[in-house]
């Protein structure tokens, strides 16, 4: 009887924290589609996504938890890799709007390059990357100053001033993992220092 009471108590305790239980629950979608560099991932990342299985797993996960930015980003990821940009974008947009820093960076990258026929929009990139950089994503902290220095946001309102951009790069220097990332940060620092925006 004591064991039964304890079990019921535990069940109620979990039920009392549905958000934590849902938010941190590792799904098949996480196992199959997580990005290795996503700071919000809850499973080891995968470089080679199994498209069919990943899509099915993420569609199921999102149907059960549609407000979860991590799952929405991952569904967007697998759909994009499947070449289905029009279905992918609403999920990436949702996740980016919900401050998922990886989704913000990736959506910016897609928009910057105009992948899969998506219309290039430098000012949308500027907004996505500055938000991602402010949340701490390494790739955005390097890419944003690099684009500013190369004049790629010239037609936009540049939201970060020189001090903030310095801060992005200083933080990126501490985050850099390995030889290439360290050299890249040093390279972008040099380029940014020599740019008009830094002066």
């Amino acid at each position: 009887m004591n064991k039964f009471t304890a079990l019921v108590g535990l069940a109620f305790a979990f039920a009392a924290h549905p958000a934590a239980a849902e938010g941190d629950f590792i799904t098949e979608c996480d196992m199959l589609v997580s990005h290795p560099e996503d700071p919000d991932r809850v499973a080891p990342g995968v470089d080679d996504v199994l498209l069919f299985a990943g899509r099915a797993a993420c569609e199921e996960a999102v149907s059960k938890d549609p407000e979860n930015p991590r799952l929405r980003y991952q569904l967007g990821r697998v759909l994009f890799y499947s070449g289905d940009a029009s279905q992918s974008l609403p999920h990436l947009e949702f996740a980016a709007d919900a401050d998922h820093e990886q989704a913000q960076f990736v959506l910016g990258y897609i928009t910057d390059e105009g992948f899969q026929g998506i219309k290039k929009d430098p000012c949308k990139v500027e907004d996505l990357w500055v938000r991602s950089a402010r949340l701490g994503r390494f790739a955005a902290r390097v890419s944003y100053p690099r684009h500013v220095a190369h004049g790629k946001f010239e037609s936009c309102t540049i939201q970060a001033d020189a001090d903030e951009i310095h801060g992005f790069l200083t933080a990126a220097k501490d985050q850099a993992a390995g030889y290439y990332q360290q050299l890249l940060v040093a390279e972008v620092m040099n380029t940014y220092e020599a740019s008009d925006h830094a002066k």
């Binding site: 990258y109 790739a139 390097v142 890419s143 690099r146 030889y179 290439y180 990332q181 050299l183 890249l184 390279e187 972008v188 380029t191």
Partner: protein, 203 residues
């Protein structure tokens, strides 16, 4: 009797073959100390933080005793020593491997001289020579780092072994090898800097 003699000859020949290790065979040293970006590695890479250093040194010592001329194993022993903070033990092995043409050892040794790591005397002209040999053998890091240092004047005191045209070819090769977002960006930025350098210096 003839059969017996033939059999003895076969056994002796087999014994002689068995005592000559296959230089491409995967050893414990490879398993414990390989670098993920070494083009000559024969086992999955192990990061610096993930390396069991004492075990790696023991395995690589045993393997290099069997194969003292194997440049890959000598590089790995040097790597394990260097990560263990033993540069005096590491350097002879790294130098041997680099001189024997191991492109990863050439790049790494050049990097150690470039930075003056662990008290090794900084010598950028040694770096220049090592990275040039590594780049000519197609090591990605050297293909980009060499022109990067030229543009920044870090080889100004040395006699440059590569012409501007050769460095441009290095960067062209690196562009085809850049395997991720960061390497592509770094290669693109150094290429841009190098083009400006050529224009500035008229080379």
């Amino acid at each position: 009797m003839r059969y017996l003699i033939a059999l003895i000859c076969c056994v002796l020949a087999a014994g002689a073959v068995a005592q000559t290790p296959d230089p491409e065979a995967v050893t414990d040293c490879d398993r414990l100390a390989s670098h993920g970006s070494d083009p000559e590695r024969v086992a999955p890479g192990v990061s610096q933080s993930g390396m069991r250093k004492a075990a790696a040194i023991a395995a690589c010592l045993a393997d290099t005793e069997m194969q003292p001329e194997n440049r890959r194993l000598r590089y790995l022993l040097g790597r394990a020593y260097f990560y263990s903070g033993r540069p005096d033990d590491a350097m002879p092995h790294l130098i041997f491997a680099a001189e024997a043409g191991h492109r990863q050892a050439q790049f790494v040794l050049g990097y150690i001289y470039d930075e003056g790591l662990q008290g090794v005397e900084q010598d950028r002209c040694k770096t220049e020579a090592l990275w040039l040999r590594s780049a000519r053998q197609g090591r990605f890091a050297a293909l980009v780092s060499y022109p990067h240092h030229v543009v920044r004047g870090q080889f100004d005191d040395c006699e440059l072994g590569a012409s501007a045209d050769e460095m441009e070819r290095f960067l062209g090769t690196a562009k085809t090898m850049a395997s991720d977002y960061y390497r592509r960006m770094w290669t693109a930025d150094v290429t841009e800097d190098f083009a400006a350098y050529r224009e500035r210096t008229g080379q």
